[in-house]
Amino acid sequence: MKRLLLAGLLGLAAAAALPAQILINGAGATFPQPIYTKWFDEYAKVDPSVRFNYQGIGSGGGQKQILSETVDFGASDGPMSDENLGKAPRTLWHIPTVAGAVVVSYNLPGSPKLRFDGPTLAAIFIGKIRKWSDPAIAAQNPGVSLPDQDILVVHRSDGSGTSYIFTDYLSSVSPDWAAQVGKNTSVNWPVGLGGKGNAGVAGQIKQSPGSIGYVELAYARQNKLPYADMKNAAGHYVAASLDSVTAALASAKIPDDFRFSMVNPPGADAYPIAGTTWLLVYEQQKDAAKGKKLVEFLKWAYTEGEKMAASLDYSPLPANVQERVLARVAAIKY
């Protein structure tokens, strides 16, 4: 017991002898949590004097906490509303980190490769198209035998960035959807069942013949789910992949405040249902030491860190966006 105590005291003394480690706290979105965690792990090797603590409590929590300045940076899967941004005590910047795609998965006999355009997909999710044998689906899928079966729509029941991207896409391709339902992290779904998380939706699809739903691309790839090619704004059917998402980002119109939606961009190779996730940082950092370390980290993340994105099934930012984001990071004051 005594020896243990002594060892503990020695350990404490040793810890105290090290230069003080700076702890930077962040909280928010869960979608990018795997890549952020990877970045923090890797960055610990680059700069051992700083440690990051990120809590994936959801975008709502991330926005709240950065507004009340209980964390050093926030993270959100959807851009903040003007109303919420207005509550910030100083200028609060959105900076996009990585992008991800949402894919449409389904359960049909033989798992054929399906193709959809936006209006058809919206009609299915709004409940106008109720059968797989509907001519609108058949017209886009020549040669595929579609059963005369009811379509069972499955959506996320928990609020999520995935739902935000998906409903954002449906709103952009279907005026009916935009008017009746709209876009948000959770919406009032006209039809269908809610599954909790990607796993809940995927599980429901796997088990229900005739079902259709949406999951993150990363989840669909890791679990080998079939997913549809989507018709983009240029009129091509494009498969979801890391490259087609980066292509979408490259052709998306991105305003100066980075609060943008990248669904249905004009690029010829762009996959249309994709979105970014943002970090929320103040232009003027409160704590100079922390601010300096945060900026150093961000510069590293946008150069070295982005290279790790693909290994975790996130799409890195294209060069043109990366440049703009780095310029914004360099403008953070501390």
Binding site: T30, I57, G58, S59, G60, G61, Q63, S76, D77, G78, M80, S81, E83, N84, D150, L152, S157, D158, G159, S160, G161, V181, G182, K183, N184, T185, S186, V187, N188, W189, G192, L193, G194, G195, K196, G200, G203, Q204, Q207, S208
Partner: protein, 321 residues
């Protein structure tokens, strides 16, 4: 505790040490008060967190059934109905099952069998909620959808409760999973109640020539009914607040449907689902108000149960609490 009193002190002047008594009373009082304070604090936090929604929607919040985060319109009715219906289903299944199990354990089972069965039931209580949910998604739901629900529909389809399309995930599945989860508490409380029935009762009934079943019915069950009702109320309390497992199998659809095969939604589920990503103030306030509704609902149901318990009281009834 007591030290030997030194001989020089005459017994009459023995100093009376009051502080252990006083401090113990104080500690006990503080402990009791802190529970009350906690409840009041929770209530206050829920109320103050939901003020925007209360001001905007008023009592209409309770009767409107539209829940739309996009247009910032919120009504709690489907969630209230879902919570009540799923808990009721759970009780209807779990109470007979739990009481019968308890009867078997106390009145019939060979002594050697008792402990193993009790252990298994208590293990059921130790399984985390999310595990029940996963089991529900991957095992229970497919089984219900392919084998149980179609049979129920063909036999009971003349009732409106068993019509409509079968998805598997449904109000009935939600109720079933809650039933499994509240079974341990109902069984073990019932067992304690039944064990407290004096043997004299049983012997008297036997002496009158009653059969085993008659003994259980007349001497045991009627003696213990008040206590058994209490066990059901304890189970109900847990059923109302059950969150994770229900969310995973109930379908999460804020609709009110007569059919038990249709998906539903509960108060606890919608809070768990949507709280993390709720960004607008009114949205967050409405979720808080759902929490407030759940607390009030639980208190109301318990109060009602207490009232019913009182009417059950009579000569010869067992006592709980």
């Amino acid at each position: 505790m007591s030290k030997p009193i030194s001989e020089s002190t005459p017994p009459a002047q023995r100093p009376v040490r009051r502080w252990p008594d006083v401090s113990f009373r104080l500690v006990a009082l503080l402990a009791a008060l802190s529970v009350v304070a906690l409840i009041v604090l929770v209530g206050w936090e829920l109320y103050s967190g939901s003020r925007l929604a209360v001001a905007k929607f008023g009592p209409g919040f309770l009767v409107h059934s539209r829940w739309d985060p996009v247009s910032d319109e919120y009504g709690a009715l489907p969630f209230i109905a879902g919570t009540l219906v799923s808990s009721l289903i759970a009780l209807v299944i779990a109470v007979p099952l739990g009481v019968a199990t308890a009867l078997f354990l106390t009145e019939m089972a060979p002594v050697r069998l008792r402990q193993p069965v009790i252990t298994v039931i208590e293990l059921l209580a130790a399984v985390p909620s999310v595990i029940f949910g996963l089991w529900g998604i991957f095992v229970m739901i497919p089984f219900l959808r392919d084998h149980v629900f179609p049979v129920m529909q063909s036999v009971l389809g003349f009732l409106p409760f068993f019509r409509g399309p079968i998805y598997g995930v449904s109000m009935l599945a939600g109720g079933l999973i809650v039933a499994i989860m509240i079974l341990p508490i109902i069984t073990s409380v019932s067992r304690e109640i039944l064990r407290s029935v004096p043997n004299l009762q049983r012997e008297a009934a036997y002496a009158l020539g009653a059969t085993h079943w008659e003994v259980i019915r007349i001497a045991v069950l009627s003696y213990a009914r008040r206590g058994l009702f209490g066990a059901a109320v304890l189970g109900l309390g847990r059923a109302l607040g059950e969150t994770m497992a229900v969310t995973m199998v109930i379908g999460n659809r804020p609709d009110i449907s007569l059919s038990l095969f249709a998906p539903g939604y509960t108060l606890a589920s919608v809070i768990a689902n949507e709280f993390a990503e709720a960004t607008s103030d009114l949205y967050l306030n409405s979720l808080f108000e759902l929490g407030l509704v759940l607390v009030v609902l639980t208190i109301a149901v318990n109060a009602l149960a207490q009232l019913m318990l009182r009417t059950l009281a009579g000569p010869g009834t067992g006592k709980v609490n």
